[in-house]
Symmetry: C2
Subunit: 408 residues, 2 copies
Amino acid sequence: MSDFFQIDALCGSARTSRLRTAHSDVETPVFMPVGTVATVKGVPQETLEELGVEILLANTYHLFLRPGTETIRKLGGLHRFMSWERAVLTDSGGYQVFSLSDLRKLREEGVEFRSHLDGALHFLSPETATAAQIALGADIIMAFDECTEYPADREHARESMEMTVRWAERCKRYFEEHKEEVPWKSVVGGRWSVASSDPAFANDQRLTTNDQHLFGIVQGGMHAELRRESAERTVEIGFRGYAIGGLSVGEPRTLTREMVEATLPHLPQGAPRYLMGVGTPDEIVEYAALGIDMMDCVLPTRAARHGLLYTSEGKLAIKNARFAQDDGPLDPRCGCRVCARYSRAYLRHLYNSGETLAAVLNTIHNLAFYLDTMRQVRQSIKLGHLEAFLSEVRSRSLNSSAQGEDPA
Amino acid sequence: MSDFFQIDALCGSARTSRLRTAHSDVETPVFMPVGTVATVKGVPQETLEELGVEILLANTYHLFLRPGTETIRKLGGLHRFMSWERAVLTDSGGYQVFSLSDLRKLREEGVEFRSHLDGALHFLSPETATAAQIALGADIIMAFDECTEYPADREHARESMEMTVRWAERCKRYFEEHKEEVPWKSVVGGRWSVASSDPAFANDQRLTTNDQHLFGIVQGGMHAELRRESAERTVEIGFRGYAIGGLSVGEPRTLTREMVEATLPHLPQGAPRYLMGVGTPDEIVEYAALGIDMMDCVLPTRAARHGLLYTSEGKLAIKNARFAQDDGPLDPRCGCRVCARYSRAYLRHLYNSGETLAAVLNTIHNLAFYLDTMRQVRQSIKLGHLEAFLSEVRSRSLNSSAQGEDPA
């Protein structure tokens, strides 16, 4: 598997690596912006490229319902559909089925649920969720899991974890039998590849020699020994990478960290480790230090739409009256196009006026902040200075809390 | 006045010219995108630059209410506030007071009205509206007029027109006494000018030697002889340019054109002529052919947000089911960044999913279409081929109507 995942540097438990996917190489530790319905809300793909995004996440549940995975398959897959030539990861839809849909009925076979859009009845199983992800054609796809509710007692968490293990086996079996159906493999030429300026995409040879990669997901609720068992049984099935799921579901942050620490020793060093749905800028640094390679979270993009901005001086609420006459940049230490051009006073005006440009610019800045943070993490690992960077981030976090700028 | 307005080429009644403003040179005929509250909804200023926008319009009424013209003056004026180094025109607020505000009381002195935002009581007069525009510091500012309602009988239209003439005199008087108070003249250096990459803006000498330009507005309802009298009396007062106001207020298009044709012969050849609030892509070509130099309209930006897109093949509604599997560009003849990258299927998906990026990309395309149209108008005038271009536009318009693609 060394062609897919190669570790470059180690620093304590942390590591930098390169994920080689069919569409691009991704340096880890990496933060993946969330592009739920094949768009990072408000940000054109060319701006994501400019920000240095190498991989983004799209939600199978949403795309399954609209425009439909079959529609996207016919249009050549997600990359062509959204005109994004770098890597994409899709989740399996499991989490959204449990968090968004109504009237779900869980059986061994799969989950029947009603669409949150129109109430129509749908069914997702390990097989159909994997088929949907093959149709979407992301570079990395996820096994269909049951996201254990929080809190869950040991007995329920075990039943749920065991179901996820059985489903993981079915996902792998379906994937092995159908992975050749990924839309890249049937498309030769066409509008987008001809127009492509990205050498990785133009290189058809490379596209046809690369597969999708299926990741397994560790569950087990907030029970360390179930996490361990889930990890061991998932690794036994064998996947290209391993995710830690079912966290950031309402539990205290100390418990999240405890579960991550309980899981990591049971995942192989030689495969990428993906912590799902995490976190704040401080948390992503902490988890990278523990040895996590990949993370995703709606926080930077959702907070941006609510006028909450991450800066080197802490989090700020742009609507605050003290910014009304502030002609300085959002973050004097940030080099993003928003900080280079616009003032806090202007951004406050846009937000308070309910202007679309507020969401656009705020999102660009927050993503820049997250991506820069991860760039610094990788650099610190390579230089062997991660501990120093971690201290800096922790003291920034304390200052920010002391200023009372960290809205709940 | 030849330093401000210089005609370059003539073709029938049409002309190309150069407006030299304190912040940039503007080639006419020009279409000015509307940036109501100091933002063209959804589009970052760097994208407007990329599109070739040389002048945009902002609304004094909106900025007067929020964030307040005094706030913007303290921040160095509108250019610095919104980080836009090219030309800006502000309207006087007259039209919005009449169309948006509640409980307005019109007196000779001015208009008392309630804000549409919070119901607070405000007062605008020729003097305060001019003061507000000096504080905003646009390159071109407009006299405070009464926009005559439609329909209006001759007697009412005459009274209204005469009030506008008396107000125009007061605007000019106030402007002459206070024009040195424009914020550029008190600002030396500072963040934005230091960071500026625009030679016109970095050249402080030029900023301090250039003034704002005040334009008068012709009213007169739908009565040709009142339009003529209004034009003559406004020209007699003497302005740097002349606008035709009070049109596109619900009257039939033939009547709009009739009023423009009744007014133009009474405006001086040697000053810019600005037709306010007009129009469709076809109309802006028609009016340029009649000799109009400047136009503005919310149509391209507002239509974009409703998924209505202007193309070389006519107008289309992107939500239409026939685009669901259409992987071609919005307009195969358009070179904008949206048409270069995204498919109709993807744009339809974004619009139908209520995604912010739909508004962003649709607006960029519609503006590109309008700006390209005006580029072609200027080119056709310079080459003496405007009549041929006009025929092409008219036949395109007929085709579009025949396809039933022109929503009301």
